[in-house]
Amino acid sequence: MDETDSHVRKFHKELSAGIVSLVLLGVLARARTPMYGYQIVKRLDETGEGVLSGKQSALYPVLRNLSAAGLLDSEVEPSVTGPPRRYYRITPLGRRVLREWSLAWIATRDFVNTVLED
């Protein structure tokens, strides 16, 4: 049991590295209004399963890196009740990249499925 456990964890870690960026871009592309970190984390928490069910703290550095790469825009807004929040919204470049990534994801998914089904 322990033997497979460490392998599964390692696999999750490696798998999530790229997928998290794709999912975050996807969530923000569908969002009507800019979202802040905590909100995105909670959105994924409701629906997330599998590789994304890791620690939520891993999402923040990814958001920052996407923003540094110009795929996301961000701004800080003070809120009346809570702490100041950093809102993220997807940029036009982000949308173009998301389209490419989605195609790559679908191709990979189909390929993996055919391999596993054989």
Binding site: K55, Q56, S57
Partner: protein, 303 residues
Amino acid sequence: MTTPTPRTIAEYLEQLRAALAGADPALIQDALYDAEEHLRSEMHENRGKPEAEVLAKIVSSYGAPEEVAEIYVDKEKVVHQALSQPPPPRRPTALGRFFAVGADPRAYSALFYMLLSLATGIFYFTWTVAGVSLSLGLSILIFGIVFAVMFFGTTRVLSLVEGRIIEVMLGERMPRRPVFAERNVGLRTRILGMFKDPRTWSTLLYFVLMLPLGITYFTLAVVGIALSLSFILVPITHVLWSIGLVQIDWADHIHFNDTLIVPPLLADPLMFVLGIALLFGLLHLARGVGKFQGVLAKALLVR
């Protein structure tokens, strides 16, 4: 686990800071900012519940301080690998090492930083001196305090901007997020904290220092570029002129009064070689200045 489960936000952040000890200060600042934003949001979402209970939940969802520290250090490594250029191959000879700087993009961006630093240096200096004098002058009025606080706020933003410039051009990792202001304390304590924070004063010192540094860097860069380029171009022009390809109207009227000590046959190649050496020496200098400036900025702008 050796450390006890944190019961308050402050405890959690303290443990996270301890777990990140030894990591890049800029990384620590970013990680603490993210954690604090998340923790406060979670706390806000669960108003009315005891803080310890909410934190226990956070530890299982967001991660315990040690886990978070590990995630951030890991992520930093991956990002660093993905973004940085591979180190150039080490040249075996001293001469090869000397000229290898020509292929180092960092040297050129550092040279550009040297030219830019005059403009930023003047701006930072003026801003700081004007802000400090106005704050002192207005301090006899209540408004003076408000003004001083606003001025210190702008220096924090400026220090983040300078951090961005330095990270992009000089390659020194700098914070991307500001430091969270302390919460749950009165306005008075917060303002006092701003004055007591050594970083406030070291930021001012950095901005004031940027004027003399900027002037020095700019002068060195301009003189170095002008000198080395003219040393390289003069012999070429001279040769072209002697074979009649280039006409220089006034050249024929220059009389050296027989004071030429080195014959042109020797002087031309010598100047050319000297110019090339100067140019590459300048690139070395720029790279050194870049390293120095990165260390200085990190010491004065990041806690």
